[in-house]
Amino acid sequence: MDVRSQVSMVFHLDKCIGCHTCSIACKNVWTDRKGAEYMWWNNVETKPGTGYPTAWEDQSQYSGGWEVKDGKPHLRASGRYRGLTNIFHNPKLPVIDDYYEPWTYRYEDLFTAPAGDDQPTARAVSMITGEPIEITSGPNWDDDLSGSPLYAANDPNLTALTPAQREQIFEIERLVFFYLPRICNHCSNPACVASCPSGALYKRGEDGVVVLNQARCRSWRHCVSACPYKKTYFNWAAGKSEKCILCFPRLETGQAPACFHSCVGRIRYLGVLLYDADQIEATASLPDDQLVDAQRKMILDPFDPEVIRAAKENGIHDTVIESAQASPVYKFVKRWGIALPLHIEFRTLPMLFYVPPLLPIIGNGKGDAYDATSPNLFGTLDSARLPIEYLARLFSAGNVGKVRYALRKLMSVRYVRRQGEVGDVPAAMVDALLAEADCTREEAEAIYRLTSLPLFDERFVIPPSHREEAIAALTDPLEFKGATGVGFRQKPERVS
């Protein structure tokens, strides 16, 4: 057992209102720079939809992540030999037009235009060339555009649905969609790290945050094509890759990452997971339908004395183990089994989990918008407006059982609450539902509390970073005094 600690995340999709506050918080802190204008380390997508960059989930186009060959995971796009033979031109690299050309407006024209009969306008100009451009796409271009034949209909996940189901979710006036906020998954089998020819990317031992050493990045770009989530970005001006760093300077000082802290719907949870690194390769080699279970098996019980002993042996501090025991992520993922990884079939073993959305709850009724005649108030899960197969394609590599399990539990929580608050549901029915959902009243109450009433410190259980034990303390303590940004003492500028 090789225990590692990972600062891990849960996004509760039922609570996401699609306000993009997270994206803006991140943009203001990290990517408001030349060459990074197009980057959204945090972005929010409308599903069904094509997302950002366009159709990123379609690996037949982007070739991200791992595939199993001869029983072992291999990088789909690069790897040791292909990585080097493709070094002069990376055939799978997305180009800026797959994202969008960043632009601003010539606001000064509003002030400097000579007096005339017409109102002056601020023309859109490209932030790359400075020339006027026609804006044809943007980072959330298909925001709320479910049902659009241009965007939603091209969602790669729709291949999991039957033509009838597809027609159903695009029915006029009964369109269905939900929001999917995405950041770097800080995977335990990161494809970006494995694909970097110069070894600039690495996973931090103490908290599992995947970061990139810009001084070692040599512009080979393989991380961009290797990441199946397209969450490593290429700064075209600096010639360096950049990615979400989970706001580690904030984490180290006990603050939640900017996107977490600013989340209006309070959908985000953050906490430590202990996992067994010895199981990574075997887990990543399993067939699709076993991946979710295997990854959960990889995540260890922080109360198990054997795990605690092995963790201490690996130098994990007592306070970090305590933090893992209080972790909301552990509850959602392992204890309750209601949080699922996004596209685990890419086999990077993402450490960001999603509670699948129960909303919209409207049943697929008899022509009315809301079918109240259904014996159980919310309609049955299998006739939900959003086909369960679609969610399974996103969150459990097509394993419908995993999504159904999570949704049933979430549903039973609602019934427990409804019985308590409204009192129009018989207790026997609720008990039957709970039994069917593999849930108890205590568990339902706990899920309810952590979903609806959690305090800041219950949502974000941030482990102390123990800087006193860091290697940096052994070197010159004044080394970074007066430094700016992420550790440079020079301006990140190129001579040529």
Partner: protein, 219 residues
């Protein structure tokens, strides 16, 4: 004339090599951030393929060819002692030279005609491009009109290059070769001179260790 020879073929090589070594090491130690070739594929991918791939394959073949002749001249001379082998050697070099030039022309055209790419092109890039074009053109000229290059290279140029390494530059060897060869050699030393100030530095950080390093890095 002797003064010029001494200057260009006696002193200039040392300036070039010293700058190459000192500045490269200094830049690697103090400012690694700037060492890369600033890939522009993210802004334009298709035309890069048709330029970059032949360019690099050509230039690598030529580099190793020149280096082999320099390191093991006797063996090369022996190898090229039958007409067929000599022809194979010359043809390989010529085709590599063509790929080098063709790729380079495509790459330069690509940069000149794209507004996006001009944004990420520095003045030094134009200097590098011009010098490389000169090396390709002069190299091809030599291969075509001053035959057989692979035979006399080991007899004239290699002894000269060796004499530089032995700190006793034999300027006379260079003084007696045709002007085109002289200019080709000067072009090479000019490239060495600007090497460590430009994107050419990426050659020194070719990611060979990737072949044996662990796939996952946890630090």
């Amino acid at each position: 004339m002797n003064l010029y020879n001494a200057l260009f073929f006696g002193a200039f090589p040392y300036v070039a090599v010293v700058l190459l070594l000192v500045i490269s090491i200094q830049r690697y130690r103090s400012n690694q951030y700037t060492i890369s070739s600033l890939s522009s594929q993210f802004l334009e991918s298709q035309r890069l393929f048709w330029g970059s791939v032949p360019f690099h394959l050509g230039v690598l073949t030529l580099f190793w060819g020149h280096l082999t002749g320099f390191l093991i001249p006797r063996e090369v001379q022996l190898f090229a002692s039958t007409p067929l082998r000599l022809l194979v050697l010359e043809l390989t070099g010529f085709v590599a030279g063509l790929m080098f030039l063709l790729g380079l022309v495509l790459l330069i055209r690509r940069r000149l005609f794209s507004k996006r790419l001009r944004v990420v092109t520095s003045p030094l890039d134009y200097v590098v491009h011009s010098l490389l074009v000169w090396q390709a053109v002069s190299g091809l000229y030599i291969a075509l009109y001053l035959r057989w290059g692979s035979a006399w290279y080991v007899q004239v140029a290699v002894p000269y290059l060796r004499s530089i390494f032995l700190a006793a530059p034999d300027v006379q060897l260079m003084a007696s070769v045709p002007l085109m060869v002289q200019l080709h050699v000067l072009g090479a030393f000019s490239l060495f001179t600007i090497f460590s100030f430009t994107r050419l530095m990426h050659v020194l950080v070719a990611p060979i260790p990737y072949l044996w390093r662990r796939a996952q890095l946890v630090i």
